[in-house]
Symmetry: C2
Subunit: 411 residues, 2 copies
């Protein structure tokens, strides 16, 4: 798969004290690459997380949900190439065997092991490969870095996606590394707020599980919950954050703890960057689109209208064609099922007012809009003229590349 034209270079990422990385070749598909990731966390590492709201979650998702309330993590294990979703008892048993093997080898409780899998739905995870892969990874712990970790969890991803932030917690500098996979089946609908999107954040800050959960939910609401590639929500979406505590700060237990706001801001900012990287790797994407809705009756109403625009195949194909077809934006506002008034509605592309109060502006010149649409980053704004509600959603254009990728994904 050719690298997305919207790809970004992989950043320099520091080690996070208290974390050891290994990858291994479990061989879930016939490919010549590592497809299993193991992160080992030092004792005392806290965890928080959000999982898909799909009614058909994978066993890995169910395991994470069971383990999260304990708040402690010693390992993350990720399988790429097989999502293990909708695989019944065989899939559950294979995932459980893998988790138990990690716990046995690292001498921890199984409830401190967090599994995730991504890939084809409906084929049980091959138990032997899953277990022997874990053994190989444990033997190699500490030998890999973040780039290898990120590459090992990719499926249709065309470039590895990661980001880094720092936060001053009092006079202690904490580090946050995040990495993510996902390019299709992306409309994260994580329980609190879709793709198989797997996103992981690792920090050396000391943070209580409760506050980590609170900060992560807020970060998700402004990042992964605001992106869509195709409106399809995976059975396996998972966002997990691990805090080793090795930075040595006074543990953050609530927003009033010294440095808590800096940490929450850094986490939100990191998640925003990761979310936009997922859109930049949207299947077939050639343009990154920000859909901004203002003037809605509420922020939530604005978000729904923005998603109606961002998920409209007709809007996305028009932008793919560089066509300033603002009428399709009107159509998508009209069908959203949210309060809207045709004769109050205004549309902007790249800041240029195209239509105002229900009609095209007088003397409309398509030139500047066409120039904006020729670029890699496109901004669409709909002003509903009703209230103060606002929201932004990020998506990508819909191209023949998306069709090609998905018409023969399994082959």
């Amino acid at each position: 798969m050719a690298k997305s034209p919207l790809a970004r270079p992989f950043p320099d990422l520091p080690d996070i004290p208290g974390v050891r990385i290994a990858t291994a070749r479990a061989g879930y598909k016939a490919w010549a690459r590592d497809d299993l990731l193991l992160l080992e966390f030092a004792p005392g590492t806290k965890v928080a997380g959000l999982t898909t709201r799909s009614k058909c979650p994978s066993p890995e998702v169910e395991t994470c949900r069971r383990h999260l309330p304990y708040g402690e993590a010693r390992a993350l294990v990720v399988n790429a190439g097989n999502s293990n979703a909708f695989t019944g008892a065989a899939g559950r048993a294979a995932s459980a065997a893998q988790v138990e093997e990690v716990a046995r080898l690292l001498c921890c409780w199984p409830r401190a092991v967090f599994p995730a899998s991504t890939g084809v739905i409906g084929v049980p995870l091959p138990r032997d490969k899953a277990v022997s892969g874990v053994r190989a990874a444990v033997a190699a712990l500490g030998a890999s870095g973040w780039l290898a970790a990120t590459q090992a969890i990719g499926t249709t991803d065309t470039f590895p996606k990661a980001a880094f932030r720092e936060a001053m917690l009092g006079n202690v500098r904490a580090r946050l590394v995040g990495f993510v996979k996902g390019s299709g089946m992306i409309a994260p609908d994580l329980a609190a707020s879709g793709a198989t999107m797997l996103a992981f954040v690792v920090t050396d800050a000391a943070v209580s599980p409760g506050f980590l959960q609170e900060a992560l939910a807020a970060a998700n609401a402004g990042s992964f919950a605001c992106i869509t590639v195709d409106g399809d929500t995976s059975t396996s979406d998972t966002l997990l954050a691990f805090a080793t505590g090795r930075a040595g700060n006074v543990p953050l237990t609530g927003i009033d703890s010294p440095g808590a706001d800096a940490f929450a801001f850094a986490l939100a900012d990191l998640c925003r960057e990761l979310a936009l990287l997922v859109v930049r790797d949207g299947e077939g994407a050639r343009k990154l689109i920000e859909v901004r809705v203002i003037g809605a009756v509420s922020d939530e109403s604005a978000r729904r209208v923005a998603l109606s625009i961002a998920n409209s195949p007709l809007v996305k194909t028009a932008i793919a064609g560089g066509d300033a077809n603002w009428g399709r934006v009107v159509m998508a506002v009209g069908k959203a099922g949210e309060p809207a008034e045709r004769d109050l509605l205004s549309i902007r592309f790249g800041g240029v007012l195209v239509a105002r109060h229900g009609a095209v502006v007088e003397g409309y010149d398509e030139g500047p809009v066409a120039a904006h649409l020729a670029g890699e980053e496109v901004e669409v704004e709909a002003d509903l003229g009703l209230g103060a509600g606002r929201a932004s959603v990020w998506t990508c254009d819909l191209t023949e590349g998306y069709i090609r990728i998905n018409a023969d994904y399994r082959s």
Copy 2:
């Protein structure tokens, strides 16, 4: 545009007593074809109709809504190539001028004239062309037939779509002719229950406006409300039925009138055929897909799950590729937001059980399923295992053709 591989031949259609047909070349686009249709109805013709629920309706839609309560029709005028939607005062004035010109030339009230327009959004209907087109059409009344009428209202349609039914009303034989345009922006959301879909039914039966409305709403619920091409709902969707009364039956005023059930059945059956023809002309379509959901908690819940499957780009691209990727059906059930239980869910393709109670069936043989998917008509069934709710939705596959058509529709 090449004809859809799913096209059907144009049927033989009878004249409907009390109806005269004309088409004209208004020249809304730079094309060498008639793009204006005028139907003249005999005095006493009754009318019923449903229009889009979009919050951004065209002035033509608003006019139909205002005129429908009077229940009487003398003319239908349809413009193709310009939807006149979102065109403010200029568009409203142009449409009003056209309606008034029809009324003046046919010596009737403007409220007996029903306009519809389809095409690009945001460009005011050119008033001069709209008026002179009407004059040319009036001069030619009676010179055209149903084929010319159907062709005149098409835009991205690749074949003309019409159907015919008869109903015995006591000992009187009534005829129903229906014709429709639409191939993209199709997810009709007509007020009662989407594309620019324009569908018109003309009958010589004598029917009261009230019963015609009742029968039409029921027919819509089982036809146009159950199709989707791209999940995008037009600003201009319109379904109108005209009854000239020339068959001479005792007027149908309610479901207890003699022959009323036969009429309602024929109307519903006709609308179902028209709706499926629209899907067969779905932009880029190569396969007609029936998505059937059974075992839901209610019929409405079943319909929502069916639409979630039918609108999923990942399901539609898989079928385009002939890929029996039933995992994507699981994904679409899971994201629908309706009651569902992974471990009760079963999936069939073409009647072949693929997955049962949350996992692939033992000894699953993809051969028969792949053979089914290689055909032109594909059946997908999801059994939720919860209750007696059921619904069917029809859609088409999502191909590179859809992208090509829509990335440069306006050029």
